[in-house]
């Protein structure tokens, strides 16, 4: 700021203080009024500390480093000390410093960006207000109201902002690990069924999604009807606890297996595309398909963990991750239902029945224009009619 500008600001402040002094004298009330676009400063009433703080900060920004005076009052920048036996007439305003009182303030006292220490013998006859600081009572007296507004950072242990991403990351790792173990179990004990559900996903994706969606819509009414039916049958009431337990479990199992089948399908598609492109991928197996698929889903949630804190965008990332997971789970549920839990390969795209791919079928079934081969070791045997 240039010297001329500083002078103009100072002149404006002196004028403003002069007006405030005039009003204060006329009303026989000590105080300061600063004509500002946002309103005037009132030290007589401290009932709206947020507004007063805003006004004081505006004043400090408008006149940085310029000494302020309020007629009949004391304005201090930096630390202020009032000794025992000393008296401060009118209101006191301490800016950007601590106030240490052992004497008497006859009016209100306001401290901005500092603490107020009330030592033994200190008396504030009016109200005491500390903005962004604390009142430290060492035996002093405030005859009016005492207010203090401060801000404090939470300790590290309870700081969710700092630990949040790591906790979420650990949670995601736990979920992925759990799903991986469940998936490995499925591959180990029910690989054909898992593959059927997975193939249903691959070959009937849209149909699976619609089926899953429909299942979600009708699941609760169906369960409700079942419960009502059991209640109406009177005897069926005994089965209610069992049904109430089994239906949610079945639904959860269907969603889980379906979701794992979707990840299996994702991994398989990815690897097959890479192999088709000539990449060397090692051993393509179901375990690997599952890991790749689960990793792909985890990446979506990693985006939320990394950038979930960003306003608006974070919520959008969360929404994307949630919707993606829901869509996958819906497809999986639909595929599970279409394939009857992996028992019915009607929607797997297997147009040729498995037995058609066996040597027995090929030998036994004549193809148009192709002479059937002779079965080894059966000289003179004729081709059978289908």
């Amino acid at each position: 700021m240039r010297v001329g500008d500083q002078g103009a600001v100072l002149l404006a402040l002196v004028f403003a203080v002069g007006v405030g002094w005039g009003v204060g004298t006329a009303a026989a009330q000590p105080g300061a009024k600063q004509p500002e676009p946002g309103g005037s400063i009132e030290l007589d009433r401290l009932g709206d500390p947020a507004r007063l703080e805003q006004q004081l900060r505006q004043l400090l920004r408008a006149a940085p480093g310029v000494p302020l005076t309020i007629p009949g009052s004391q304005v201090r920048r930096g630390d202020f000390r009032l000794g025992s036996g000393d008296t401060l007439s009118g209101h006191g305003l301490v800016l950007q410093g601590n106030a240490d009182l052992a004497g008497t303030v006859t009016g209100n006292l306001v401290v901005l960006d500092g603490d107020l220490t009330l030592r033994s013998g200190a008396v504030v006859r009016g109200d005491a207000l500390v903005l962004r600081g604390r009142i430290l009572d060492r035996g002093g007296v405030v005859r009016g109201e005492r207010r203090s507004l401060a801000r404090t950072s939470l300790p590290e242990a309870g700081n969710p902002g700092a630990t949040g991403p790591f906790i979420k990351l650990a949670g995601l790792a736990g979920v992925v690990l759990t799903l991986s173990l469940l998936g490995f179990g499925l591959v180990l004990f029910a690989k054909p069924q898992l593959e059927v559900v997975s193939d249903t996903v691959t070959h009937s994706l849209f149909r699976s999604f619609l089926t899953g969606l429909l299942a979600q819509v009708v699941a609760i009414p169906t369960a409700g009807l079942l419960v009502v039916g059991l209640v109406l049958s009177v005897v069926g009431i005994l089965l209610l606890p069992f049904v109430a337990l089994v239906i949610p479990l079945l639904l959860a199992a269907a969603i889980l297996i379906g979701f794992l089948a979707v990840t299996h399908a994702m991994g398989e598609s990815h690897l097959r595309r890479r192999m088709a492109a000539g990449a060397l991928v090692g051993s393509p197996n179901s375990y690997r398909y599952l890991l790749i698929g689960l990793g792909s889903v985890a990446v979506v949630w990693l985006g939320w963990i990394g950038f979930g804190w960003v306003p608006v965008a974070g919520a959008l990332v969360f929404l994307v991750a949630l919707v993606t997971t829901w869509v996958l789970a819906t497809i999986g549920l639909g595929a599970f239902l279409l394939s009857r839990g992996g028992l019915r390969p009607a929607f797997t795209g297997q147009l040729i029945p498995p037995e058609a791919l066996t040597d027995e079928y090929l030998w036994a079934t004549p193809q148009f224009g192709v002479t059937a081969v002779r079965r080894p070791g059966q000289a003179g045997a004729r081709t059978r009619e289908p």
Binding site: G47, A50, R134, I135, V141, V142, R143, G144, E145, R146, R147, S148, L149, A150, R151, T152, S153, L154, G158, N159, P160, G161, A162, G164, P165, I167, G306, F307, G308, W309, V310, A315
Partner: protein
């Protein structure tokens, strides 16, 4: 192209680091007024979320409040009207975003105290809060408590030196526990409950006979009663049921043994849709 990678990953990495460095800030608000011989004190407390404790002041204050609040979502309330009414607590500033889990909520707390000298007319409005109101020793002249989804404990550890006309508790979906209700000295109690559980310990001094009206939708009320107290319960409502030993039934009225001879009597009227009242003798 390895040369492009640092540029590609710099911005996301910086954003990630910035996210890790966020430190939530709590606002602290202290507000007190020294006791100046006031005869009555109407007080209204609003507290939207967090933990709140209400009791007696430690220093010679008419009232005092120490509040820790989330400045991004709440603002402190602290005012004393010229007519002598004090308003305390924390109100929402209407900037709530999606904070689903409790782990993300800041530990908002309020400690509020009142002087034991003036007649206290207490009006408390709680949101999703956990509240402990120890009103023992205060000159409570009336109590009105409205809670949302909260867990509230009101205790009267020592008898009320004043005269309480009425106390009313309206609970949305929460738990309410009242300890030593006899010390409150309130001649009339009224409970309006939505879905929740109400437990009332009827111990205490009982300076006079009292009436209690329980209007409940779904939930249960348990009364822990001392044997010296005579209790008569009138049940009104659909599917409301009563359980208690030593009661004589006459249509909708259940009368405890020795009711007529009891020094203090409590009339309980229950209006309930689907809930039950259970009396357990101490």
């Amino acid at each position: 192209m390895t040369k492009g990678r640092p540029t590609r990953w710099t911005v996301p990495a910086l954003l990630l680091l910035a996210g890790c460095g966020q430190a939530p800030v709590l606002g602290e608000f202290e507000y007190a007024r020294p006791y100046g011989g006031e005869k009555r004190l109407p007080a209204r407390i609003e507290f939207a979320a967090g933990r709140i404790k209400v009791g007696r002041t430690k220093a010679a204050n008419l009232y005092q409040m120490n509040l820790r609040y989330d400045p991004d979502r709440f603002r402190p309330i602290g005012s004393y009207d010229p007519d002598g009414m004090v308003r305390l607590g924390a109100a929402s500033i209407g900037k709530g975003d999606v904070r689903v889990g409790r782990s993300r909520a800041l530990p908002q707390t309020a400690h509020i105290g009142f002087a034991p000298e003036p007649d206290l007319e207490l009006d408390v409005l709680l949101g999703a809060a956990e509240a402990e109101l120890d009103l023992g020793g205060l000159r409570l002249s009336s109590l009105k408590l409205t809670t949302g989804a909260s867990r509230t404990t009101i205790s009267f550890t020592t008898p009320n030196p004043g005269a309480c006309q009425a106390a009313s508790v309206t609970s949305g979906a929460g738990q309410v526990y009242i300890a030593s209700a006899g010390n409150s000295g309130c001649a009339e109690w009224r409970f309006d409950g939505g879905v929740g559980k109400v437990t009332i310990d009827l111990d205490g001094a009982w300076p006079a006979d009292a009436r209690m009206a329980l209007n409940l939708a779904v939930g249960g009320v348990t009364l822990h009663a001392p044997k010296r107290l005579g209790i008569r319960v009138t049940m009104e409502g659909f599917l409301a049921k009563f359980a208690g030993d030593g009661f004589t039934r006459s249509e909708k009225t259940y009368t405890s043994a020795g009711y007529d001879a009891a020094a203090r009597k409590l009339e309980v009227e229950v209006n309930s849709a689907v809930s039950g009242v259970q009396v357990e003798w101490k």
